[in-house]
């Protein structure tokens, strides 16, 4: 008689394997038995099944305690228990991908065979992903080791009504089995005894039993277990300032305004400013666009900046002194971080007021003075010294380098691009930057009442100049831009608002000349601006399609004033001849003091946010150069230690469970009516009245402690301990609900 014991897990088909083996023998005319050891086990629990066959009629009905062979359906069951009572020299068939040699030392007294039945079952689509049914494959493997012809097993599989996929699995396993001979001469005592002892009296419910904790460590049932992972949210990835966007939104979602501001202030000293003027690439990349529109990050940053309250404490004062040339966003950001590090910082500003382009180039209806003053004040409160009215040229820079431990040059873009329009009237052609500066410093004294104004360009300066012109009384304001709206570098919202306010936009239009008209009676000198139609050709280096002139398309537009907003370029004459200016790298050739160019001067990016990022990176570089201390730039660094797997890749919307999120429209906050706007420099936007918009953040790839996983864990073995998510692997059955239900993909299943 041959007796086989099968170790498996509920749902894997152990009893059916016994039945398959028995059937194959029954069909050869043998006496057989196949049976399971039934209890309350459920899918995944360790279970046993048995099979006997003999040429003579089998009469005994007890369990099998000294099997001739054992079969193990689940790799996680492999251990000393599986060979209890196993006769020496008998087969141990394991469902594992490894070579049988791997188990030589563990089971020296037995023949070991291995086959990757799980892979075979999955390949043939048997069972579910988490519980593949491996019995038919293992039936094939059993046939092979016990020297039955494959046809006999196939016949049994068919006899029991199984599908072709099962036949294929049996066949594959039959052919794939690997075997190993015993390494030692077996002795009868090798595997001990599996026979039960006499019944011992046990506790009863009258004696108080029935309330003890379960003893089953159901974690042993799992073939997979959940773990935590984290991805980079697209907003964090694209933020030029390096802000932890997800992080501050999460704090705001929980109404922790001060925490949100604290998170922002780790990277930027200008949240209130950026919350008004940032082009917000985070919003352009927001995964929520696919659902119902980007999270209004800009307004939320403003909310945190305007309403949060954080007191900053610089590190202990260091001896080194650092000079910063230029008080625009890059210079002030660098000053901010360096001051926080404890350095003595002096900022040199050519103008009379700090802020650079923030102050001179952005009209008050977008960025009120008091906001800017507040944020600059926060920097100065850190002990940053400022010297205004000093225009640093090359010689002065060299002196600064001698007297400081590092110098940072953040003079921005000082060279304004012009346009050759032939015989131009100097008075009627003005640079947008200068115009905005005058408007701002002149307290809006200048008036353009009755004028037709043409603004040339497509950036924010063009929009600001156009909109300021309207507010100064212009009769009409027309923006001419040589590409289409899609290529305009200005913030989309600003373009929309300009249109709302009545700015006319001529796209695919290039001004080529100005003609002076006959002087009318009025004070205003009227000109014709000759424009030429353009069309978009092949993309240029910037990736934008290059505008190409349309022949014979010139037309004339009457105007009284032309504002040029064609962009700026850096003035690097402050540096020694031949200095190559790259962001972040130390400029060589200027004494031994490290000198850096930062912000627009180095990057030519043109946005406040990029300048902030540049300033911060420069501060970190300087600190690293002076101290050797390497600081991680990434705002997300703190959470890396909390997760099992860190992905440096940006998470896309297709990796989120978007259907789990409820649709909910964007909250915009109140704004002045377009009619009203045309007459005032008051700020257009009132800002958000509460931070609930932050709850729209999907927290892509980053756990935001929504605890949906905990809510759904059937076992209650998931806990939040502080900010950490703790899986109790002793009991986790590995069902994977925490993975499928995590809307942001921060839990994954790892194979055991």
């Amino acid at each position: 008689m041959v007796e086989i014991r099968i170790h498996g897990r509920g749902g894997q088909g152990g009893v059916t394997l016994a039945k398959l083996i028995a059937t194959s023998r029954f069909l050869r005319g043998m006496s057989v038995q196949a049976f399971g050891l039934y209890a309350a086990e459920r899918s995944g629990a360790p279970v046993q099944a048995f099979c006997r066959f003999d040429d003579d009629t089998i009469v005994n009905r007890n369990l099998i305690y000294e099997p001739d062979h054992v079969v193990v359906l689940d790799p996680t069951l492999i251990g000393p228990a599986i060979v209890g009572g196993l006769k020496p020299g008998g087969w141990i068939l394991l469902n594992v991908p490894e070579d049988p040699e791997r188990f030589a030392s563990e089971y020296p007294a037995n023949l070991v065979a291995t086959v990757d039945a799980t892979a075979i079952a999955r390949e043939h689509g048997l069972g579910t992903r988490s519980v593949p049914i491996v019995n038919t494959a293992l039936a094939g493997a059993v046939a092979r080791i016990l020297d039955f012809p494959l046809e006999e097993v196939v016949e049994a599989v068919r006899h029991l009504g199984f599908s072709d996929a099962n036949v294929a699995a049996a066949t594959d396993a039959y052919n794939a089995v690997a075997t190993k001979k015993p390494v030692s001469v077996p002795t009868p005592s090798d595997n001990g005894s599996a026979r039960p002892g006499a019944v011992q009296p046990t506790l009863t419910f009258l004696e108080g039993g029935g309330g003890s904790l379960p003893l089953v460590k159901t974690g042993q049932w799992a073939s997979e277990q959940p773990a935590r992972q984290q991805y980079v949210p697209p907003c964090n990835h694209v933020c030029p300032a390096g802000n932890d966007v997800q992080g501050f939104l999460h704090a705001l979602a929980e109404d922790r305004v001060d925490d949100a501001l604290e998170i922002l202030l780790r990277t930027t000293p200008f949240p209130s400013t950026c919350g008004r003027v940032c082009p917000a690439p985070c919003m352009a990349s927001c995964n929520r666009i696919e659902l119902d529109g980007a999270v209004n990050v800009r307004q939320l940053e403003r909310y945190a900046g305007d309403r949060g309250n954080v007191s900053l404490v610089p590190a202990e004062r260091r001896s080194q002194r650092i000079a910063i040339v230029g008080s625009g966003p890059a210079g002030l950001t660098a000053a901010y971080h360096l001051a926080l590090f404890g350095y003595g910082v002096t900022v040199y500003e050519a103008g009379s007021q700090l802020g650079g382009l923030l102050r001179t180039g952005i009209p008050e209806f977008r960025l009120p003075h008091d906001i800017l003053d507040m944020e600059i004040g926060r920097i100065l409160d850190l002990g940053v010294e400022t010297i205004t009215g000093v225009f640093v040229k090359r010689e002065r820079l060299l002196k600064l380098a001698q007297s400081h431990d590092a110098v940072l040059v953040a003079t921005g873009l000082q060279e304004l691009r012009g346009l050759n329009l032939g015989v131009a009237d100097a008075e009627m052609v003005v640079q947008g930057i200068d115009f905005l500066d005058r408007v701002r410093s002149g307290d809006h004294d200048i008036r353009l009442d009755g004028e037709d104004v043409v603004v040339v360009g497509g950036g924010n300066t063009a929009m600001d100049a156009a909109r300021s012109s309207l507010r100064l009384g212009a009769k009409s304001v027309r923006v001419v831009y040589r590409r289409t709206r899609n290529e305009m570098p200005a913030i989309a919202e600003e373009i929309d608002e300009a249109l709302e306010e009545g700015v006319i936009m001529d796209f695919l239009t290039q001004p080529v000349a100005i003609e002076r008209m006959a002087q009318a009676d009025g004070d205003l000198g009227e000109h014709h601006i000759i424009c030429r139609r353009m069309e978009l050709g092949e993309p240029d280096d910037s990736g934008r399609r290059r505008p190409v002139e349309v022949p014979d398309s010139d037309y004339a537009v009457g105007c009284h004033r032309i504002i040029l907003a064609l962009g700026q370029s850096p003035d690097i004459t402050v540096f020694p001849e031949g200095t190559e200016v790259h962001e972040g790298s130390e400029l060589l050739g200027i004494l031994e003091t490290p000198v850096y160019a930062v912000g627009d001067l180095a990057t030519n990016d043109g946005t406040v946010t990029a300048a902030i990022g540049s300033g911060r990176r420069a501060a970190l570089h300087i600190h690293q150069t002076l101290t050797g201390e390497v600081l991680v730039e990434d705002g997300q660094a703190r959470v890396r230690s909390d997760v099992d797997v860190w992905h440096d890749e940006v998470i896309k919307s297709d990796a989120l469970r978007m259907h789990l999120f409820e649709r909910q429209g964007v909250t915009e906050g109140a704004a002045l009516e377009p009619e009203r706007r045309r007459t005032t420099f008051d700020e257009i936007h009132a800002g958000l009245t509460d931070p609930s918009e932050a709850k729209r953040c999907l927290s892509c790839g980053v756990c935001n402690e929504c605890d949906i996983c905990i809510t759904y864990c059937p076992e209650g073995v998931l806990k939040r301990v502080g900010h950490d998510l703790v899986f109790d692997y002793a009991y986790c059955k590995g069902c994977g609900i925490c993975v499928t239900e995590c809307p942001r993909n921060v839990v994954f299943m790892s194979q055991l």
């Binding site: 209890a39 309350a40 019944v199 011992q200 009296p201 046990t202 506790l203 009863t204 419910f205 009258l206 108080g208 039993g209 029935g210 309330g211």
Partner: protein
């Protein structure tokens, strides 16, 4: 309370209610009630009782009637119900549960023929089908016994050495609907006789346990043995309850079995219920005529009083067992248990079974005479004798 003339049902219903009320200072009483002829009066009596702390739940079936009793008992309340015949059959699943859960529930059953075909008259086949469950069973011969054993049943069931449910049975109509003078317990007596119920394994929020989860064979064996040991304690505990009963009520509810002229009898009849009282009249008459006949009236069927029965039949050479019940293919249930009591101990004893009053047939002194006549003429036991059939119709 003075002696009253009441039916067996009245006596049972009233006693159940008074016993339940006696637990008012503890966790009260619960009762699931459902009608079935001929016990309906019992539950009507209970439903009408003004309990201080008690709830009578009028359910939709006997199954639920016992279900309510089980729930009430698990909650710690004194719990009881009543049923009969097919009602008991429908209740069986929960009757079993009450026993296995060791709940001191008391049930009064009116013995009625199991159907179909439908027959409402006396037959013990309904309660005897419950014989293998861990329930104590009593069989009554008159309304006073119904009253006294019902009262005693609570004290016995709730004894912490016992904790088994008790069934008190009476013959349909012959007791249930027959008016008879009966000394009913007063509330004061019941209060004195029955201590407050304290169920050791009642469900408590401060000690959460699961009752009735899976048990492995070893725990099952232990539980069965524990039941068996409790059953073995019943005779002694019963005697204590009986003594206390005498103290409180001033009368004797009787032993596990009564003997009548058995001391020197060569022929002994074994009977239960009302058949036993009729048989007693015949034995009395035959004794007067000089025949050495005796009678054993068994009151407690479970646990079966084997030793007392053997003692009572010490001088006997022939024993006739009267069964108002029929176990298919075998004969009477009492007969089987009697034979088992002597098996291997008195193999010389002739033990013959007689089926009497099946389906409520009237058991008259003449019936008993026929039994004794048959027994006297025998030199060996045979198959069950269908006493009520004409001899030519009896299949041997």
């Amino acid at each position: 309370m003075p002696v009253e003339i009441v039916t067996g049902n009245h006596a049972a219903g009233y006693t159940l209610a008074v016993a339940g009320e006696a637990n008012r200072n503890a966790r009260g009483a619960t009762c699931g009630i459902y009608p079935i002829t001929p016990q309906t009066e019992i539950v009507e009596k209970v439903a009408a009782f003004p309990f201080t702390k008690g709830r009578v739940v009028p359910v939709e079936s006997e199954h639920s009637a016992m279900g309510v009793a089980i729930g009430g008992s698990l909650g710690g309340a004194r719990s009881f119900t009543a049923s009969s015949s097919n009602g008991l059959a429908y209740m069986v699943e929960n009757i079993m549960v009450a026993g296995f859960y060791r709940l001191p529930i008391v049930m009064v059953a009116v013995n009625r023929t199991l159907g179909p075909p439908w027959n409402i008259w006396a037959d013990q086949g309904d309660t005897l089908m419950l014989r293998d469950f861990p329930w104590i069973q009593f069989y009554c011969s008159d309304n006073q016994e119904v009253t006294d054993l019902t009262m005693l049943a609570f004290r016995l069931a709730e004894d912490h050495r016992i904790l088994l449910p008790v069934l008190v049975s009476m013959d349909a109509f012959i007791l249930s609907h027959t008016l008879q003078e009966t000394d009913l317990p007063t509330q004061e007596q019941a209060d004195r006789y029955l201590p407050d119920l304290e169920l050791p394994h009642r469900m408590r929020h401060d000690d959460p346990k699961t009752l009735g989860g899976l048990v492995w064979p070893d725990a099952t064996t232990t539980l069965r043995m524990e039941s068996h040991e409790a059953m073995l304690q019943v005779p002694a505990a019963y005697e204590q309850c009986r003594t206390t009963f005498k103290d409180v009520f001033g009368r004797d509810p009787g032993a596990a079995l009564d003997t009548f002229h058995t001391d020197d009898a060569d022929t002994v009849l074994v009977a239960s219920g009302t058949v036993a009282t009729t048989a007693r009249e015949v034995v009395k008459r035959r004794r007067a005529a000089g025949e050495k006949v005796g009678l054993v009236k068994i009151r407690m069927f479970r646990p079966f009083p084997e030793q007392a029965l053997r003692d009572a039949c010490a001088s006997a050479v022939k024993v006739g067992v009267l069964d108002r019940d029929y176990a298919a293919g075998v004969g009477g249930v009492w007969w089987q248990d009697t034979r088992a009591a002597f098996q291997g101990r008195r193999d010389d004893l002739l033990i013959q079974g007689y089926l009497v009053g099946i389906g409520g047939g009237d058991v008259t002194p003449e019936t008993v005479d026929r039994v004794l006549d048959d027994l006297g003429g025998r030199d060996a036991a045979g198959g069950p004798v269908w006493t009520d059939m004409k001899p030519e119709e009896v299949v041997a």
